[in-house]
């Protein structure tokens, strides 16, 4: 199988998971054709599996992701940037000119799209691996499943189930703002296991009950739920956006 690993606007933290499993990939006979961070000779031909890290945030990236899609049998997004637009998508909700000029003294030279968007806004995505960063075990599950031609198993249920399984006391009940009930499982309920509220790295479940959690946040004086989601890593996820648009 021919693999490509691609990077757009991101921190490089998700593709590093490929380093950890490189030994296993070699065992399975994968051919890594394109992986700029790992090798100096790269080939852009046809790919069986393309893994994409990062959000689309410049005009060049918009063109490149379309080219990758054309050449790939399966395209898998890895991590919150590629799945939802990433932390940099907070700018989608702010005055872009102000953000730009607060970081760059000569904003005229900065060629970037006003919004940072998920890959799925531009091309068809076969599978999303969630997380900021992704869980390397989930990546391995996906790679091996696709190699064997079976459907990868990725949890669709909310984080709360992981907390229950671990026997964590509910941090929301203990007074911490926790998004766990609307967020996809996959990290092993890390933040609640470290006495903190989930801040939503894995993005929303398919049908999150946002209104109910918003009410709980309000009742308990934990701040505005939407503000908490907007300033998080998956704020521009399709599921949230549909909800905001409803008002």
């Amino acid at each position: 199988m021919r693999i490509g690993v691609f990077k757009f606007a991101s921190c490089d933290g998700c593709q590093i998971a490929f380093f950890d499993m490189s030994d296993k990939l070699l065992d399975l006979g994968f051919q890594i054709d394109y992986f700029i961070e790992a090798q100096s000779t790269n080939r852009f031909n046809e790919f069986d599996l393309s893994f994409v890290e990062g959000s689309i945030s410049t005009p060049e990236q918009e063109n490149l992701i379309k080219k990758i899609r054309e050449k790939s049998k399966k395209l898998i997004t890895i991590g919150a940037c590629a799945d939802s637009g990433g932390i940099q998508s907070i700018r989608n909700f702010m005055d872009f000119k102000e953000v730009l000029s607060s970081v760059y003294p000569n904003p005229d030279y900065i060629k970037t799209l006003e919004k940072s968007k998920p890959v799925s806004d531009y091309v068809n995505v076969d599978l999303e691996i969630r997380g900021c960063p992704i869980n390397p075990h989930q990546l391995y599950e996906v790679v091996v499943s696709l190699y064997l031609g079976k459907t990868p198993y990725l949890p669709e249920y909310p984080l709360c189930l992981e907390c229950k399984r671990k026997g964590n006391p509910c941090v929301l009940v203990l007074g911490k703002p926790c998004l766990g009930s609307v967020i996809k499982a996959g990290c092993g309920a890390l933040c609640p296991s470290f006495n903190a509220g989930c801040y939503g790295c894995y993005g929303p479940v398919e049908k999150p009950n946002l209104d109910s959690l918003k009410e709980i946040f309000r009742e308990r004086g934990l701040g505005d739920l939407y503000e908490k989601i907007l300033t998080s890593f998956n704020g521009y996820n399709r599921v949230y956006r549909e909800r905001y648009e409803k008002g």
């Binding site: 490089d12 030994d23 961070e37 100096s40 790269n42 940099q88 730009l100 000569n106 030279y109 970037t112």
Partner: protein, 430 residues
Amino acid sequence: MKKVDILTRVEGEGKIWIDLKDGKVKDVILNIYEAPRFIEGLLKGKSYEVIPHITARICGICPVAYQMSGVQAVEDAFGISVSPEVEKLRKLFYYGEWIQSHGIHVFFLHLPDFYGKSSIFEIAKEDRDLLINGLKIKNIGGKIIEIIGGRVSHPVSAAAGGFTKYPEEKELKELIPDIQEAVDLSIYFLKKFSKFRFPDGNIEGLQFVSLFKENEYPILNGDIISDKGLKLSKDEFDSIFLEFQAPYSTAKKCRIKGKEKYVVGPISRFNNNYEKLSQTALKVSKEIGLKPFEKNSFKTILIRLIEIIHSLEKSVEIIKSYKKPDEKINIRTKRSAGTGISEAPRGILWHKYSFDEDGKILEANIVPPTSQNQDAMEDTVKNYLNRISVGDINKMVFEAEKIIRNFDPCISCATHFLKIDRDLKKCRIF
């Protein structure tokens, strides 16, 4: 004549431009086209509590560095001090990151250059053990981070005032045998790699800048020093290290008093703090004949391995004397400003914030190592290419790329601050 290439085996996206005139290299430009993510702009108006979480996302390879400079800046602003136990745990957390990040660079990014291969995957086809043992070294660093912070990239427990949860003594002690195995493996690789042929990739005419602590090889905090006698506190950073814009470009660089070029990172730490390396690290450096003043950027592969050995040994020391802290995080916000500096794997990383009375961020300024090393990378490439005088432009680019890799640039980091772009002809970069 110019040549553009895509830099491979570095973190993030960049190019090198080589400007030739009469067969001589006139100018070298490191051109960064990584898409900007505006992290400083996004922080404004948010609570101080998000700093370790949001700034970690600047870099998936050195998130602990961002968290540590960040939380120390918050503590500086609100007048909080942490206990020596917390300080020790922070160092352990940070040593984990040096091991993990240097492990990635030494084995995955740098090593293929010395083997004349495209990647470690290519090397592994002939020497599988090298990959397996390299991973063992890297992964023990990751394991340390994971126990303290839950996961290797973007750990969750770091906060101003301490950690949201402290690891049990037992969890840490169980790591000791693997750490010791990693020490042995690292010494083996250090000796093996010290026999490589190292071309003359000397860093010339620059000051070597690092942190300084009286009795330790600096990592978590300290004053700033250079080999030329510079000495200042973290609060003075932005009055001495001035960002400026060259008239021919919009790329912001950082120089001492706006003039003098400098280099940060393992090579500067090593030269300025050599005697304070851990016992074994010092002993093996002497054995292979590596000592200050080392200027050859190619030899940073050895220096990173020495810092790995140092970090492993220091980690065992901390774990053996570890007592689980019991302090609770208790923060009182006030209208104020603070700075924090630490030695990220790639060099000094400085944060400055100002807050309103509720702890909301008014301003954020972050200066990462890679933007500080732009001059050093460009000058070293230029000197090296003129020294080896290869006529062929493709060969030049190939060699230039190696020099850039010697500095382990993290372009993902630099992009959020580098006021990127150097307008060569009509090349407009993001």
